[in-house]
């Protein structure tokens, strides 16, 4: 069964439309990259899936049922969210943080049980964060923190993962580690992954499908091979890009007027 369907979804803030009659089907077990310029509605798209925003027209179906009819709890059983890297106000330990993903399952009980603890431990082990389980979130680096939040999403045991620029503040090594982990989850556990990113090159390397959002509600979807190309990117991002090939997949280098490799005028 198709996990998620957007049917003619429209959304806008005030008078500016952000998404216009967006229709798309997310197959179970696929890895989507949502890309586009700032303000093109990437986060809006994710927030609608998360239930924070409701479409102004059209409908979102999850497993054939309108998203609006899902309760908080039911939605939390289906999808988990990883946000941009941030430091929370209070100093929870890594293990406490990951355990929080289990709390909605037995809502009114005061304590976690042994099952919750072993699932949280497994999630920490999978993201290679078990070694600092006792440290607080303020005591570890940004990349480690982001892996902890990924561990929390895994401990929630949802078939879908939503990620909003999870690697935007991370260095190359930590970016790659997160993407590797996600791809591994997709292959080994059949997770459906929707990821908002600015990195077109990582999208080419890791994702099966791309949703490229333009300004004023235009969009293109498909495989990275079909959607991401010089012409498309130059049109939507309004810049010049150089396109090359690594071995199988493409890569893009953005070029400005003063770049050393700036295109001839």
């Amino acid at each position: 069964m198709n996990r998620v369907e957007f049917q003619n979804v429209t959304f806008g803030y005030e008078k500016t439309p952000v998404l216009r009659e967006l229709s798309l089907t997310v197959q179970t077990g696929s890895f989507w990259a949502i890309v586009g310029p700032n303000g093109s509605g990437k986060t809006t798209f994710l927030r609608m899936l998360d239930g924070q925003l409701k479409p102004q027209a059209g409908e979102i179906l999850v497993e054939g049922r309108p998203l609006s009819s899902w309760s908080f709890r039911q939605r939390a059983e289906k999808m988990s969210l990883v946000r941009q890297e941030f430091v929370p106000v209070f100093g929870y330990s890594v293990f406490e943080t990951v355990l929080m993903a289990r709390s909605f399952r037995r809502e009114w009980s005061l304590f976690e049980n042994a099952v919750d603890r072993s699932i949280a431990k497994a999630a920490l082990a999978a993201t290679d964060t078990l070694k600092f389980a006792d440290r607080t979130l303020g005591q570890i680096s940004g990349g480690e923190r982001q892996r902890v939040f990924l561990a929390r999403a895994l401990a929630q045991e949802t078939p879908m993962l939503l990620l909003d620029e999870p690697t935007s503040h991370l260095d190359l090594k930590h970016q790659i580690r997160i993407f590797d982990l996600l791809r591994q989850m997709q292959i080994e556990q059949g997770k459906t992954i929707l990821l908002v990113t600015h990195d077109l090159n990582l999208a080419c390397q890791y994702c099966d499908r791309v949703l490229l959002l333009g300004t004023d509600g235009a969009y293109i979807q498909g495989t990275p091979q079909t959607v991401l190309n010089c012409r498309q990117i130059e049109e939507i991002f309004e810049i010049k890009v150089f396109q090359g090939t690594v071995r199988r997949e493409k890569f893009f280098v953005p070029l400005g007027h003063y770049s050393k490799d700036a295109p001839p005028k």
């Binding site: 209070f90 603890r117 940004g142």
Partner: protein
């Protein structure tokens, strides 16, 4: 996993804090302008000659100490809730304008010369309670207009309403009769008048205990919520419902405390921070522990208020601010250090 909260750990820590509170209360009933012997008082009222120690203990000191404990517990608990939901370490029980609402209510009662009592509550206390609850409702309503999940709107609404009502209070202060002024000022500084009826303490105590228990049940949700509404929602927390319940409960507890004792600052701000530093931020533990520590803190502050300028009595709010101010600055410096060097 040394940080993990287990039922055993929670029970042990609560017993320890509870024992501490009892010891503090037992010590503080003996302190005052008139020395009291516990042993003598224990002989009870059944002896033929009037047992003055027993009378002072049971009719004067104990109700005051109990009242201080209830108010301290309520304020500390409310502070925890407001800090968690607003994700602001500087939030305190008065952040939503409760103080100014209650102040305005009590001032009006004094100015109108109301003298009636309602189930042991004086007109001033009743008016303060109504003023507090009405102001919270007003702030909540304005906050909702600015956005359902944004706490900034709520925070700003609280600050603005507080400033506006404070201006009204200052205006009234400047035109009020001098004899009325002293009553209101003393109330605004926070002090424990001798409660006239024990049943008032029972009601306030029950509200406090039930409130803490209920908030503890929301503890895991509050943990998630202190990561922000988006995160909490994705973890299956019904955020609006949780905020409404927790805010409502904390506001009720604060209003009860305020109407019984006036404005006592710093308890709701520093006690949660101190407990968080000592025992961690998990709300299942933070709420009851803060309540016990807050109660002990206020009982001690009240005892100090009784002896510092004996036989006169200082407003207890003066003591909490004098002790709390420096302590809070230490916390602030520590907190800033964390921001600079705590995380790379």
């Amino acid at each position: 996993m040394k940080h993990l909260l287990t039922p055993g750990k929670l029970a042990w820590r609560l017993t320890l804090a509870g024992g501490l509170l009892l010891a503090v209360m037992a010590a503080c009933v003996c302190i005052g302008s008139e020395p009291v012997s516990l042993r003598k008082a224990m002989q009870g009222a059944a002896v033929e000659t009037p047992n003055i120690d027993y009378e002072i203990l049971m009719c004067v000191r104990l109700p005051k100490v109990l009242l201080a404990a209830i108010v301290g517990a309520a304020l500390a608990c409310a502070g925890v809730v407001f800090q968690a939901i607003l994700r602001n370490p500087l939030a305190d029980p008065y952040i939503l304008g409760i103080s100014s609402g209650a102040g305005l209510g009590s001032m009006l009662a004094v100015m109108m010369g109301w003298m009636w009592t309602l189930a042991g509550l004086s007109a001033m206390m009743t008016a303060a309670f109504i003023g507090a609850m009405a102001t919270v409702w007003l702030v909540w309503w304005i906050g909702r207009l600015t956005g359902r999940t944004q706490t900034t709107g709520l925070l700003l609404a609280g600050v603005v309403v507080n400033a506006f009502f404070s201006a009204v209070i200052m205006f009234l202060t400047s035109i009020i009769k001098a004899s009325h002024l002293q009553t209101t000022l003393f109330w605004l500084m926070g002090s424990f008048a001798e409660p006239e009826k024990m049943n008032l303490l029972w009601v306030a105590g029950s509200i406090c205990v039930l409130g803490i228990g209920f908030l503890m049940l929301l503890g895991r949700r509050l943990n998630s919520l202190s990561f922000g509404p988006e995160e909490a929602r994705s973890m299956g927390v019904p955020i609006e419902q949780t905020c409404f319940l927790a805010f409502g409960c904390a506001a009720l507890m604060t209003s009860v405390a305020v109407s019984l004792s006036g404005l006592i600052g710093f308890v709701g701000l520093i006690v949660p921070h101190a407990v968080r530093l000592a025992a961690g931020p998990d709300h299942r533990q933070l709420l009851p522990l803060s309540a016990l520590v807050g109660a002990a803190f206020l009982v001690i502050a009240d005892a100090a208020a009784r002896v510092v300028v004996a036989p006169a009595i200082l407003p207890v709010g003066v003591i909490t601010a004098l002790a709390g101010g420096p302590f809070f600055l230490i916390l602030l410096i520590r907190y800033t250090k964390n921001i600079h060097w705590g995380c790379s």
